[in-house]
């Protein structure tokens, strides 16, 4: 079945606002991403203590995935290895890279830490989401200059059309210093009942990404 596929849900986190399917779940004026993520975690009553160990990139991706998938019962509808994850961002794990670099910059106070170093890989966020949800499927982290709906559409479409992947969580998860910008889409082969958000097409990905929170 070569489409059309459907964006059945999305979660947008930017500008101090968390939105799922056009509905604002939380709004804050806290500029610091780490503090903001903790607020979101508490306000939306997520209970997953591992959250506190994550770096900010993983926190952003984790929160977006939790709120996107809440009550969706994905695991009862799909085998864990039929669920794919395709994520993009611009700065990879650069924020945590800089923290690791600080820990080794001064040879007289050298304290590299495994709990920091492990987060110097952007794809750890995929691992965190898979662990939380028991997803065993395809996972890919791409790095790109900016959100590129066309590229995302083409690769996810190919996965759904050409491989065993039945359902894909795709999106842009960018976190670097004070800047954060996250969106995750739940893309499925059939339209949700009642209807999903939009047909899976580049212009719809873009439109959801660009709307003001």
């Amino acid at each position: 079945m070569n489409g059309p596929y459907y964006i059945n849900d999305y979660c947008r986190i930017c500008n101090g606002t968390v939105k799922v399917n056009d509905k604002v779940l939380y709004r804050s004026h806290t500029p610091d991403p780490a503090a903001f993520y903790t607020e979101v975690y508490k306000e939306t009553a997520i209970n997953y203590p591992k959250f506190y160990k994550m770096d900010n990139l993983c926190k952003l991706g984790f929160l977006a995935s939790e709120l996107l998938l809440r009550d969706k019962q994905l695991n009862s509808r799909y085998a864990g290895d039929d669920i794919g994850l395709v994520l993009y961002n611009a700065s990879s794990s650069l924020e945590t890279d800089k923290n690791h670099q600080l820990s080794i910059q001064d040879r007289s106070s050298y304290f590299p830490s495994p709990s920091v170093f492990v987060y110097t890989l952007a794809n750890i966020v995929i691992g965190e989401i898979c662990i939380r949800n028991k997803f065993y499927g395809e996972g890919t982290f791409f790095v790109d200059e900016a959100f590129d709906a066309e590229r995302m559409y083409r690769y996810v479409n190919l996965l759904l059309y050409e491989s065993h992947v039945q359902c894909c969580i795709a999106g842009w998860i960018e976190q670097h210093g004070p800047n954060y910008d996250g969106i995750l889409y739940l893309i499925e082969k059939t339209n949700a009942d009642p209807g999903g958000i939009a047909i899976f097409e580049p212009q719809n990905l873009t439109q959801l990404y660009l709307q003001r929170n």
């Binding site: 170093f117 995929i126 691992g127 898979c130 662990i131 491989s163």
Partner: protein, 381 residues
């Protein structure tokens, strides 16, 4: 269905600057892992597989102006250029895509003492890919795959999928990473490095050796471009996740088993040879042996090449796949240097001396931090 052919390749590593130089030393069982003294990377001596920087500088000076490019960029450009000259591709069409596979790219520029005038901006992986795009004149924006230690195998899977789906005619895959203080100190903090060259699958193995390398594979749907006597095709391949732990492999090999099983389901061919990840950490090699056994492949000859090149991270999957392809061309199984006594609980058929045999198919596998795994089938056509 469209077949995806391997057209040309190159390896820049401690063992040489061409694939042939590397393959010759692999056949001789020579490791590139040595003890180094380099204060920019470590205050104490360290064991690693390092590219000869003087030769690299000379090779690069033949192509362009060294001071403008970082060490990482020079390595990748030297490798890409050789493979692309061989392939005689027309890069200026919008049917040719460049994929960069790397975990850390220009990570050394985060150190202000090493960054010089190049600046921290150089650490953005998409910028590095863009620099390569402009250097060689690719028309399309490149893709960057950064998936820990499976990046190279995943780039092969993605590249071949894109060609099979008709998105592109040719895909050039460059995989590279450097040995830096950043990475060395990190793996040290995990206590996953060994002293001396690593010993994959061996009873005495104590950890991995780091390495640096750049590898390039040119893929195409054009059979005529694959000008070798034997044409090797990139077949089905899949990635998977353990959903278990971010820094340790699954004890049951679940994720890797899933990726292998998916791959085998897509073929009726029997696997002649497995090119394993084999980092020589206690947990990785054990996990791989379990996954290989669970997939019913315990009798298939398997090697790890980490004892030659160390763990070259984003380059590993690319250069190990190239070695596998050349093993297939030459019909020779390369021994697992560093291996002596079976050190995994699920006995698998480790290649402990070079052997000539017909190799028609190879399964290349990889696993990495984040619980990610990948598997891809290479076969002769």
């Amino acid at each position: 269905m469209t077949d995806v052919y391997i057209v040309s390749d190159n390896i820049v590593s401690s063992l040489g600057f061409t694939t042939d130089e590397n393959m010759d030393l692999l056949r001789l069982g020579q490791t590139g892992i040595k003890q180094h003294h380099d204060d920019r990377i470590s205050p104490a001596p360290f064991w690693a597989s390092m590219v000869n920087s003087e030769i690299l500088a000379r090779r690069f000076a033949d192509i362009s102006d060294p001071p403008r490019y970082t060490y990482f960029e020079q390595m990748v450009i030297v490798s890409l250029r050789q493979a692309m000259v061989q392939a005689e591709l027309d890069l200026t069409t919008d049917r040719t895509l460049l994929i960069l596979s790397t975990t850390k790219g220009n990570i050394d520029v985060l150190n202000p003492n090493l960054a010089g005038e190049k600046g921290i901006e150089r650490a953005y992986l998409w910028q590095t890919a863009q620099l390569l795009q402009y250097f060689f004149g690719f028309r399309l924006k490149p893709m960057v795959v950064s998936n820990a230690c499976i990046s190279g195998v995943l780039a092969l899977i993605i590249g071949s999928r894109l060609i099979r789906a008709g998105e592109f005619d040719h895909v050039v895959i460059a995989g590279a990473d450097i040995v830096s203080e950043f990475v060395l100190s990190g793996f040290n903090s995990f206590m996953s490095l060994c002293t001396g060259p690593c010993k994959p699958f061996d009873k005495e193995r104590q950890g991995l050796s780091l390495g640096e390398a750049a590898g390039t594979i040119v893929l195409s749907n054009d059979k005529e471009l694959a000008n070798k006597k034997d044409k090797v095709v990139v077949g089905p391949g899949f990635s998977s996740n353990d959903a278990n732990h971010i820094s340790g492999p699954s004890r049951t090999g679940e994720g890797l088993y899933i990726a292998i099983k998916r791959t085998l389901q897509q073929t009726t061919q029997k696997v002649d040879y497995i090119s394993a990840h084999g980092t020589a950490t206690p947990y990785n090699d054990e996990m791989e042996s379990i996954a290989i056994s669970r997939a019913g492949l315990q009798d298939v000859p398997v090697n790890s090449l980490k004892g030659y090149w160390g763990h070259t991270l984003g380059a590993a999957g690319v250069i190990e796949a190239i070695a596998a392809v050349h093993s297939m061309y030459g019909n020779v199984l390369i021994k697992t240097v560093g291996y002596n006594t079976m050190g995994v609980t699920h006995p698998i058929n480790i290649i402990d001396k070079n052997r000539e045999t017909k190799i028609n198919t190879c399964l290349k596998i990889a696993s990495g931090f984040g619980g990610c795994n990948a598997s891809v089938l290479l076969y002769k056509k």
